[in-house]
């Protein structure tokens, strides 16, 4: 991207900035959990409304019929009420400091003009996506399957920035802080970290564009950390501070929060909680139906196409099997061509239901290292859901 193109990209934010004098809505307790409860945030389309402050907005599934999730429909999840609502690009700087020789303060314009831009198509998924399906239910954001999205991210490899900052020997971790701030001094600021080797792997990047547009404010404008194959908790939004550390990073959000049982697929029993836990990390493998639509009525003898998406943490999807009889028999779905190792991959299966009635559809993805989806899963935080999805199709 040349400098002019980059400035045009940034200039587009002005026109996109939606202003509003008073966005108050009222609702009544008891009607809130309606699945049709939608809300529109600035720069966003109508999204499934979980919470407003801080916002948690879920993508309606039909958007996953597109390979790239539109920015306006991409899911939103913030931890702290004090999220940025205004950023001045004249004064905003990405600060790189800590165990380095050359501290940096880079404007977004400098990131775009002084570094070779790279792009990657990658899935971002909330750790708690699909939490509402765990049984027994667990507290937290009650997502269905829409706290995930796939986008083309453009920006600068974190390695390039760290190289310019000249990391000193003995670096252990790199921490990432955004512009969001806690509502009380007792609440830990939301800061996450990666190991120095992960931070310098050449794939982790600082993105200033999402699907060739500036990021919506609630998706992390102006900069967002992109950690391909890892859960969204690491994808720090409105990234402002990168700190290289000569010791292991430690804070509430790493030591206490976002931890999973240290066992297969992060699973434990409600009656016997795991004592050994580790920070959540790479995506497990899963698939999600995007067709038929839940409200669609199919017809006997009429050919239809079942469709879905499947992804993992970057090994690659090898196979997706589909059942239309509740798991009694399975057949391979056709895989669309791969559009990136960290992208999701679309699959399709032709199906002609023979007679009227209700059919239980299931889909099971397997990746190239043999990981597949589970039949049962539970953990106390409601993370990493990848139980084989079941969808009821109506034929009438």
């Amino acid at each position: 991207m040349n400098r002019r193109g980059f400035l045009q990209l940034l200039g587009a934010t002005g026109a996109a900035a939606l202003m509003s004098s008073c966005n108050r809505v009222n609702s009544v307790v008891g009607t809130l959990s309606s699945p049709t409860n939608l809300i529109r945030f600035p720069e966003k389309t109508e999204m499934i409304f979980l919470t407003d402050r801080p916002p948690q907005l879920e993508t309606p599934i039909h958007y996953f019929r597109q390979d790239l999730t539109p920015n306006e429909a991409f899911f939103v999840r913030w931890h702290l009420e004090g999220l940025p609502t205004s950023v001045d690009l004249r004064t905003f700087r990405l600060n790189v400091s800590g165990h380095i020789r050359q501290p940096l303060q880079l404007s977004v314009d400098e990131l775009g003009s002084q570094f070779e831009p790279v792009s990657i198509i990658a899935v971002n998924q909330c750790s708690g996506n699909s939490r509402s399906f765990f049984e027994p239910r667990v507290p937290g954001g009650q997502w269905k399957d829409g706290a995930v999205g796939n986008a083309k991210w453009t920006g600068v490899p974190l390695k390039s920035i760290l190289d310019r900052a000249q990391v000193r020997s003995g670096a252990v971790d790199v921490s990432f802080n955004g512009l969001d701030a806690p509502p009380l001094p007792s609440v830990s600021d939301f800061v996450k970290a990666l190991s120095i080797d992960h931070a310098r792997d050449g794939e982790v990047m600082i993105a200033y564009a999402m699907n060739d547009q500036p990021l919506p404010m609630v998706n992390g404008f102006p900069l967002r950390l992109v950690v391909p194959g890892w859960y969204g908790t690491y994808w720090v939004k409105a990234l402002s501070d990168v700190t290289v550390l000569p010791h292991a990073f430690s804070n509430f959000w790493t030591d206490k929060a976002y931890r999973i049982p240290n066992g297969p697929n992060g699973t434990e029993s409600p009656k016997d909680l795991a004592k050994d836990t580790v920070p959540i990390n790479r995506f497990n493998v899963r698939s999600i139906f995007v067709r038929p639509d839940p409200d669609e009525i199919l017809h006997p003898g009429m050919p239809t196409e079942i469709e879905g998406i499947a992804f993992d943490s970057g090994y690659g999807i090898r196979r997706v099997e589909v059942s239309t009889d509740g798991g009694a028999t399975w057949a391979d779905a056709r895989l669309d061509s791969e559009i990136g190792k960290y992208s999701w991959r679309r699959w399709r299966a032709a199906w002609t239901p023979r007679s009227r009635g209700q059919y239980r559809l299931m889909a099971r993805a397997t990746n190239v290292v043999g990981d597949t989806q589970s039949k049962e899963q539970w953990n106390r935080s409601g993370f990493m859901w990848n139980v084989i999805q079941q969808v009821d199709a109506k034929v009438g």
Partner: protein, 143 residues
């Protein structure tokens, strides 16, 4: 947040609570539509090249039924988060709700006494509770 980034305006809770948007009505018709229709009153930023990017967040104000503990709930909880953080949850047992309220006090530092913890728990159970002892998650954070 870095102290160097003074250009950033934060939407802090108290500011939102005292914003001049008038008072919430007691009866919501919008909720009947199933669509929380934020009155956007939007306008495009006329300065397309503006380096300042600003949004105004909508906020939802659920109308909560009266009951013991309601005042403590409204005062102590919504300082940091929307009450939708409660109403989006499934019905939980008293054990689970008590665990959640204690987590807010002990882990996140909510300014509430032990007495208020119990009154808030009573209220949450009354509006979104279920019978039984249920499951009390221990060490579940960041969800």
């Amino acid at each position: 947040m870095s102290p160097k980034t003074k250009s950033v305006v934060l939407s802090l809770g108290l500011a939102a609570l005292v914003s001049g948007c008038g008072h919430p009505s007691n009866i919501s018709k919008e909720a009947d539509h199933g669509i929380a229709n934020a009155k956007m009153e939007s306008m495009l930023d006329l300065e397309a090249d503006s380096p300042v990017h600003t949004i105004v967040m909508p906020h939802d104000e659920p109308v909560f039924p009266p009951g013991p503990g309601r005042d403590e709930f409204v005062t102590a909880c919504v300082v940091c988060h929307s009450p939708r953080y409660i109403t989006m949850q499934p019905r939980f047992s008293r054990t689970t709700w008590l665990g959640e309220v204690n987590k807010m006090k002990d882990v996140y530092g909510a300014h509430i006494s032990d007495e208020q913890v119990l009154r808030i728990t009573d209220y949450l159970v009354s509006i979104n509770g279920k019978a039984g002892t249920g499951h009390a998650p221990k060490g579940a954070y960041g969800e």
